[in-house]
Amino acid sequence: MSRRARLMIAAALLLAAGAAFAQEAEPQRDLVTLYSHPTERYHVFIPPGWRDDSTPQFAQIERGTTQIVARSFPAGDVEAALAQTLTEFLPNLADLTPTLLDPVTLNNGTWQIALYPPEEAGTLTGFVQRFEDVTYVLLMFSGADSRPIFLPIPADGSLSAAVEAAAGLAGFTDAAVINEGAEPVEVAGQAYTPFTLTQGALEINAFARTVGGSAFVLVHGLPDDAAIFSIVLDFFITPETTDYLYLGVAATAIVLGLLVFSMFLRARALRADLRTLQQLKADAA
């Protein structure tokens, strides 16, 4: 090959390389703090201001008197997973039996809330999701008696009605909204509308926001505990896609293997032809 030809090929290579690497610097995204389980493929968002006490076996975060743990259980039913989580983390409350609310479908799956009866030390609420035969449990213990509940927004579309319904589920069956605060409260980057409810002489506070067709209501307690909603909403599970990776690698090997094999076969046939032609030429000479 001449020098000019080599230069032309080099120019083509440089052109292709230039196109591939002509990158513009992209702005760096803010990275959120995540707990990622090393083998169980689930990830838990850790809101700012929460202490991370997680271990490789489970996620555990705390803020004040509120504690949240996340665990996964292969197969098993929801009640069994909840019971095991409670036994491991709060053995003194292991005898409690939860009431399971109707499942609510959010962007990241279908969740079921487990409401445990209130204890003197605080309230216990569980969130459960089943995905690919694995049960994922988020258990929240609130020393401030916060009760996080999400439920479909009632037909009239009113957040007040949703707050009253949530309060009813939390045990305040006759509570009625008397005030809806104008100034939202921000928790974990999300704005919650404060509400005040009364049930007889008892005054109850609540914080609520809507997400899609659902209302997220924190009944009673501290507004900071509404961070559990961000944790539930940002909880995600890495899909199991290894089979597709193997398929992709196999397909690549097949395509390139066929090309190389066809070149090998063609070369072998041509060499055989060449030998025959050389033999013929020699015989003719």
Binding site: R29, P239, L245, V249, L259, A267, L277
Partner: protein, 258 residues
């Protein structure tokens, strides 16, 4: 006529020492490529962290994207070959063009198939008629037509002239694949490299790599392997194969005429 141009495979045979050097160089390059592929796979499949949004299938990316640029390089070689053939009418440039198209199609198919396999779990479909995907499919079909049309022309001079012109024009399909997601706002195929001129949020970094360590290294090594080592090695082998085919053809012609 070809002999008069000094490009006949029989008359243009290399000296034995030069041929031997070439064979050694190609052998070294082939071994380097094989090790490069193995190392690239190790980096992409083992060393690079798993993307927490997509899982393991994201690792296809280490083959999918560089293989497109490898195809682009091969198709680019076909353009160079086509231009030079039209200028010089030397047979070797046509050989480069043909080799470029054949290797380019293989790498473009790798790109297309791995993309479809990636899309199945991530987009929940093997295929959709997104502008970039459609342009990619058109590109592969355009070059497949090159091979078919080329083989349908008997006159060698006409065939090479046609192939040269077709190979140059066909490269616009490669450019379309690069340009479309940058200008069409409805595309869902993300632009991973280079600037974007559309308001599509998906095109502007929809394919975010939230993987852990080793992603950059795996991508860089696989770029070297798939964009340079594989296409250049295969091109070289394909050119040698074509030279052998031409030599056999010339000997056949010689044997028949004598």
């Amino acid at each position: 006529m070809e002999a008069a141009r000094g490009a006949h495979p029989l008359s243009a045979e290399m000296p034995a020492s030069q041929a031997r050097t070439g064979t050694i160089a190609l052998t070294v390059l082939t071994i380097l490529t094989i090790f490069g592929v193995i190392f690239g796979l190790y980096m992409g499949l083992v060393r690079a962290g798993t993307d927490i949004d997509q899982g393991s299938v994201q690792r296809i990316f280490y083959i999918h994207m560089p293989s497109f640029f490898g195809a682009m390089l091969a198709f680019g070689a076909a353009v160079v070959g086509g231009i030079m053939y039209l200028r010089t009418r030397q047979h070797k440039w046509d050989t480069l063009s043909l080799a470029g198209v054949e290797i380019g199609i293989a790498l473009a198919l790798v790109n297309l198939v791995t993309g479809a396999i990636w899309a199945r779990p991530i987009w929940n479909t093997w295929w959709n008629w997104d502008p970039r995907l459609t342009a990619d499919a058109i590109m592969v079909l355009t070059y497949a037509a090159y091979l078919m049309l080329r083989s349908g022309i008997d006159n060698p001079d006409t065939r090479r002239r046609f192939a040269a012109v077709y190979g140059i024009i066909a490269f616009t399909s490669v450019l379309m694949v690069l340009i479309i997601p940058r200008i069409i706002p409805t595309t869902i195929h993300p632009v991973v490299i280079g600037p974007v001129f559309t308001s599509s949020e998906l095109a502007q970094g929809g394919f975010e790599l939230q993987a852990t360590a080793g992603v950059g290294a795996a991508l860089g090594i696989n770029f070297i392997v798939w964009m340079f080592l594989i296409p250049i090695t295969l091109l070289w082998h394909r050119i040698r194969l074509q030279n052998l085919a031409d030599r056999v053809e010339a000997m056949k012609t010689e044997a028949l005429s004598s």
